[in-house]
Symmetry: C2
Subunit: 369 residues, 2 copies
Amino acid sequence: MISARGYAAHDPQSPLRAFAFERDEPRERDVQIQVLFCGVCHSDIHQAKNEWSNTVYPCVPGHEVVGRVTKIGAGVTTHAVGDIVGVGCMIDSCRHCKPCKLGLQNYCEGPNSWLATYNGPMVPAKQAPGGLNTYGRDNTYGGYSDVLVVRDDFLIRIPPALKPEVAAPILCSGVTTYSPMKHWGVQAGQKVGIIGFGGLGDMAVKLALAMGAQVVVFTSTEAKLEEARKLGADAVLESDAKALEPHASSFDFMLSTVPQRHDLNPYLPLLKRDCTLVVVGALEVMAPVNNQQVAFHRRSISGSLIGSIAETQEVIDFCALHGIGPDIEMLRIQDLNEAYARIEKGEVRFRYVIDMASLAEESVPTTLA
Amino acid sequence: MISARGYAAHDPQSPLRAFAFERDEPRERDVQIQVLFCGVCHSDIHQAKNEWSNTVYPCVPGHEVVGRVTKIGAGVTTHAVGDIVGVGCMIDSCRHCKPCKLGLQNYCEGPNSWLATYNGPMVPAKQAPGGLNTYGRDNTYGGYSDVLVVRDDFLIRIPPALKPEVAAPILCSGVTTYSPMKHWGVQAGQKVGIIGFGGLGDMAVKLALAMGAQVVVFTSTEAKLEEARKLGADAVLESDAKALEPHASSFDFMLSTVPQRHDLNPYLPLLKRDCTLVVVGALEVMAPVNNQQVAFHRRSISGSLIGSIAETQEVIDFCALHGIGPDIEMLRIQDLNEAYARIEKGEVRFRYVIDMASLAEESVPTTLA
């Protein structure tokens, strides 16, 4: 066993705090990583606070992980000690279902679905028909920690052109917005609407612009309008109904990155006929939708869940090629709970990235999980 | 002017009653029709009772019209006196917008959208930027009447293989269900779910079966289960959660024909990855949807609005070819209000069709509209 330490939530209310635990030694095809950086995703907060009612405590969040390979199993040929690699939202999947065979691990239909980097399996293993997940435990611990062990084919190569701390958030917020844009065929010259301008929205705007699209940002925060315009997008205040009007029936694609239940009705009339609004930010019950606005121009409302391993590599390479990445702010892990509070207030447009070196300053209790 | 008579609603509460009015004489490209039969659609009731808050009174419903040509304008070459023809939900459109030029009149983006057979234009002409509609009035009167005048290219040819009274409901309930099945590519061997088994549902099931699909009907009415099975479909009681389970992630396409707000959440998990549930029955605010069920398998919720003129001709010809049509019950216009009440209770699986000969028995007040 490997001694690991990290930051964990122990219940929905208390602040996250230092936590010591053990990880399995790398097996044949596993890679051991020293975590350098880990992005803070809004879903970390949802999960730490049990807002999806499926959190297994203690919960060590973190699925935007970049680290250095420190050890590899005997069967690993694709990564070497010293490589800079990334781990996103998944560390395994069933490998046998149709989506897995198509390389769509994020839509795995196996008994436990894909294995989440933390709080996995999504269906607690003990209740799932297949029993334990491939990591032999009924909970996985994520990237808010100093060490991670992951199967080789769920690792992403981080090219030297991308700073590791900038690459980290792309592994979730990047692929979550890139995957639907690719799937629904966003291309140069199209008009793309991005609803919400936090961590996901920031990446969505940069990716859509790099794809050659005309981008309009819809935000509820007046202070963010100027930030969006600086990137080269138009920006509209969500509450300004008059400002929405000229955009009626003009969008080829819209992406909602708002991380909670919200009203899609103001946006549906902005879509062209036969076009789609995809919700990636909110995995919950949405506000009721008026089907008149959907049916009258045969519009669609869809959802999309992160992206495949291949798409994750693709978006990392795309960002390296186009020189784009999230706006980040480095965070000491000791300031994590404060950062959570700011994100929850919707104040944060950049992505917090934890510098895992700060974890060394922690005196971690010696009692194990 | 042509003296016409029909049945009209004069306010949201009172029963419909006999009503005398005038229609314009046919112009160059217009065709005058003696109405033989008119289907009763659930949306007639919504409109008569102002449930969409846009009814212009007096309101003469009826958009499933079959009649005999009695007079044609000098420029009409496609129809002759004596022909049996149909009129569906639209009698005109702007003819200039992109959808119109593509032959998608039902998605017309002109200032008044398409011109509805009754209660048209949908945006009352006086408020609309383009002013009056092409019929020179701010309200159109539908097929619950003895005579209709319609532009030649919005008429449907009814082949001799279809009884005129059977053809009538196909002009709305047929094309409304046929159009999305064609658009989303329903084909032989696929599994199709039809939610709701009234007038629309009945046509949807027959069309999907004729396309070679495996069909499952979901209904809230136990008595309808056997009816669906007789047609060759499987049937499941909506409230029976256990009966839904084996259908998880198995449908290539689902169509909701329920004519009012209802909950889609039980059905979303039944769709395969990347597949679509299309709502055609309810043009209103739906129950809130859980985006988790949408995103986790990249499902879509869409809407669809009737169908184009070409699709209306196509579904009429398809029904004639396959020998299918709605189950109908003939109705004397004097029994209309009673029929409305039964439809509203959800008791009616067949389609009521008004035999317009019954209108001759009415003593209609001589005061005009």
